[in-house]
């Protein structure tokens, strides 16, 4: 298969009888809204995907939407999607404010964290300077630093991913 496949399945936990808050939400939505949400989902995927998908499938409770595009149309379907699929279990630390990102407390100092480091909740991992104030960025979870996504002294937006952490195995299975 040449094209990319994105499956936006929203299955909840098991495949059988689904319940819980999600289900309740869908129930409230009603058919029209639900389909609308699914359409939006497909549109978002298509917009967000760096490559044009050949097939998108969205499901939410009893509502589902499946779209396929002809294989010929996907002109720029050569490069695989970045990492969305390959590293699905990583946590991301995002910027809680706009400012300048610093990896260390001062120029030349050792960075707060580097790939491979283990961090724990509350541990400082970076600084964002805004309005001449230095705002410490703290980890919220346990994890191993996989990579630092922003170079030192670069401007960051609100919500921009800064670091990726791999949660410890014990937590994942727990």
């Amino acid at each position: 298969m040449t094209g990319m496949r994105v499956t936006g399945a929203y299955r909840g936990s098991g495949d059988g009888v689904e319940a819980g808050p999600l289900e309740a939400t869908v129930a409230q939505l009603g058919a029209q809204d639900a389909i609308q949400v699914l359409c939006q989902g497909v549109a978002d995927v298509v917009r967000a995907a760096p490559l044009r998908p050949s097939r998108v499938s969205v499901r939410f409770g009893c509502a589902s939407l499946d779209v396929e595009w002809p294989a010929t149309a996907s002109v720029d379907a050569a490069v695989p999607a970045p990492d969305a699929e390959s590293k699905p279990e990583l946590d991301t630390v995002t910027a809680p404010l706009v400012g300048t990102f610093y990896r260390a407390s001062e120029p030349g100092a050792t960075p707060f964290v580097a790939p491979g480091d283990l961090v724990e909740p509350g541990q400082q991992v970076a600084i964002i300077e805004a309005m001449k104030l230095l705002n410490p960025i703290l980890a919220e979870q346990h994890g191993e630093v996989v990579d630092v996504l922003v170079a030192d002294a670069q401007p960051v937006e609100y919500g921009q991913p800064l670091l990726r952490l791999r949660p410890p195995r014990t937590e994942r299975t727990g």
């Binding site: 029209q32 809204d33 609308q36 939006q40 549109a43 404010l97 706009v98 300048t100 609100y158 919500g159």
Partner: protein
């Protein structure tokens, strides 16, 4: 293409600290002047038209305005980082916040608006009214000062009579007001308005003034620079309001009693001069026949500014930017030669049948009107999701014609061809067309009560036989 050479544009980069149609409006004029634009936005506005149109866009916070559009540190940080020399605040949000203007100044940024101390003086509505009364402007009968307690309220009510209106000192945008028609409603209204004002504006002071149910809302657009030039660009009638929020505006103000226009424009220019106003501003009045009373000054560009632009040919945002850069206005009073009539209708995603309940959603269909003498200011586009977090305005339709009758007919034509739909989305379009067809409105005999009467008629069940 840069149509303007670097030397003659007022700024190299301007940061737009707003969203929606007004952010796009400011970006448009900046582009035309060769000014680079930076738009700050919340996570809910990632795909907004202003973001798409700007040279640079920076996400500064979550959807909640308090942490994005109302959060000065993030805005100033972005301005400094992107090399912006000036900040245009649009309307609403931080547009009339003297503290924000002050912060900008302290950080070497030009705030596009009047000086902070002028804004502070005019922002206190009771103080502004005392000030204007001293300058000789007619003000409504009322307390002209914050009410201290229930006893004070009773005294004022005896003095000015009923109906009266209780307003938040720090109010604006139609919020924080109650009209009292009966004496036994005085105290509950006083308490409710004070509580609301405290919650919304963090300032629970309120004042009372006479309410004129048969009045019109008339306002005068002024422009002033730092070289002593102050001009007016005529009047706008904004009497078609729902819950004190304007829905239809027009310029010139139709059917004013002889001499009234001159009194209003003269008062506005005198008032602006007395406080050392600079930039674009609006002096609002209530008018009932010959009876004229000053209400407040809006220290910003207004939603309805396009009607003035259409009749005068003046780009008000352009003048704001020139003045902010310390330059003189590009025109004098004699150069203001209004032509014809312009009307603006606000198309909101609201359900007029359910008390104007906002009903945001995806605009699956969005085909704005066009053609002769029609202007549309909208940030909407097909497929865009109107965020639920902000106001419900999605488009302003402006129609111009040589006379009022033709302008209203043109507006109705434009609204009729405006196609907006989406799941759950309803708009004020049909209600606007009902107003356009209303005999009182067409005869320019309507008052600020028009819409309330009209919606009351709409909701009244039809009786058979």
């Amino acid at each position: 293409m840069n149509a303007t050479t670097p030397e003659d544009r007022p700024f190299g980069t301007v940061l737009v600290a707003n969203r929606g149609e007004i952010a796009l409006r400011v970006v448009r004029t900046c582009r035309e002047m060769g000014i680079r634009t930076v738009v700050v936005h919340s996570t809910a506005d990632r795909d907004s038209a202003a973001v798409l149109a700007a040279d640079e866009a920076v996400q500064i916070g979550p959807a909640a305005p308090k942490r994005s559009y109302l959060y000065p540190p993030a805005i100033v940080e972005v301005a400094l980082r992107t090399g912006a020399e000036a900040v245009h605040p649009g309307y609403g949000f931080l547009a009339e916040d003297p503290d924000f203007a002050e912060i900008c100044a302290r950080n070497g940024l030009v705030f596009v608006g009047p000086r902070p101390e002028v804004m502070a003086r005019l922002g206190d509505k009771a103080a502004a009214r005392r000030l204007m009364a001293e300058t000789g402007l007619p003000v409504p009968q009322g307390s002209a000062r914050p009410l201290t307690d229930a006893r004070d309220l009773a005294a004022v009510a005896r003095e000015i009579g009923l109906p009266l209106i209780i307003k938040a000192v720090a109010g604006g945008g139609g919020r924080g007001m109650s009209v009292v028609w009966q004496a036994d409603q005085l105290l509950p209204a006083f308490r409710a308005t004070r509580a609301a004002a405290g919650a919304v504006f963090a300032d629970d002071r309120v004042y009372a003034e006479r309410f004129l149910p048969g009045a019109r809302h008339i306002e005068v657009q002024v422009l002033a620079d730092d070289h002593g030039n102050i001009i007016h660009l005529g009047a706008r009638d904004c009497s078609v309001q729902r819950r004190y929020q304007k829905l239809i505006e027009e310029s010139p103000a139709p059917a004013l009693a002889p001499g009234v226009l001159g009194r209003l424009t003269g008062a506005a220019v005198a008032g602006a001069r007395s406080v050392g106003y600079s930039g674009a501003g609006t002096f609002e009045f209530v008018v009932d026949g010959d009876d004229v009373a000053f209400i407040e000054v809006n220290c910003r560009i207004q939603v309805e500014h396009p009607v003035t632009e259409m009749v005068t040919g003046v780009d008000l945002v352009r003048e704001q930017l020139q003045v902010a850069a310390g330059r003189p206005l590009s025109l004098g009073q004699d150069d203001v030669r209004p032509r014809g009539v312009a009307v603006e209708c606000r198309v909101n995603v609201e359900d007029a049948d359910r008390d104007f309940l906002p009903c945001p959603g995806v605009l699956t269909e969005f085909v704005p009107p066009g053609g002769p003498f029609v202007r549309v200011d909208t940030h909407g586009y097909p497929g865009w999701r109107v965020p639920a977090e902000y106001d419900s305005l999605v488009a302003k339709v402006i129609a111009w014609a040589p006379d009022r009758r033709q302008a209203l007919a043109r507006m109705d034509r434009a609204l009729a061809e405006f196609r907006v739909s989406g799941p759950g989305v309803r708009t004020t379009r049909d209600l606007l067309r009902e107003v356009l067809a209303d005999p009182d409105f067409r005869a320019a005999e309507h008052t600020t009560s028009l819409l309330a009467e009209l919606t009351a008629r709409r909701s009244r069940p039809h009786r058979a036989g």
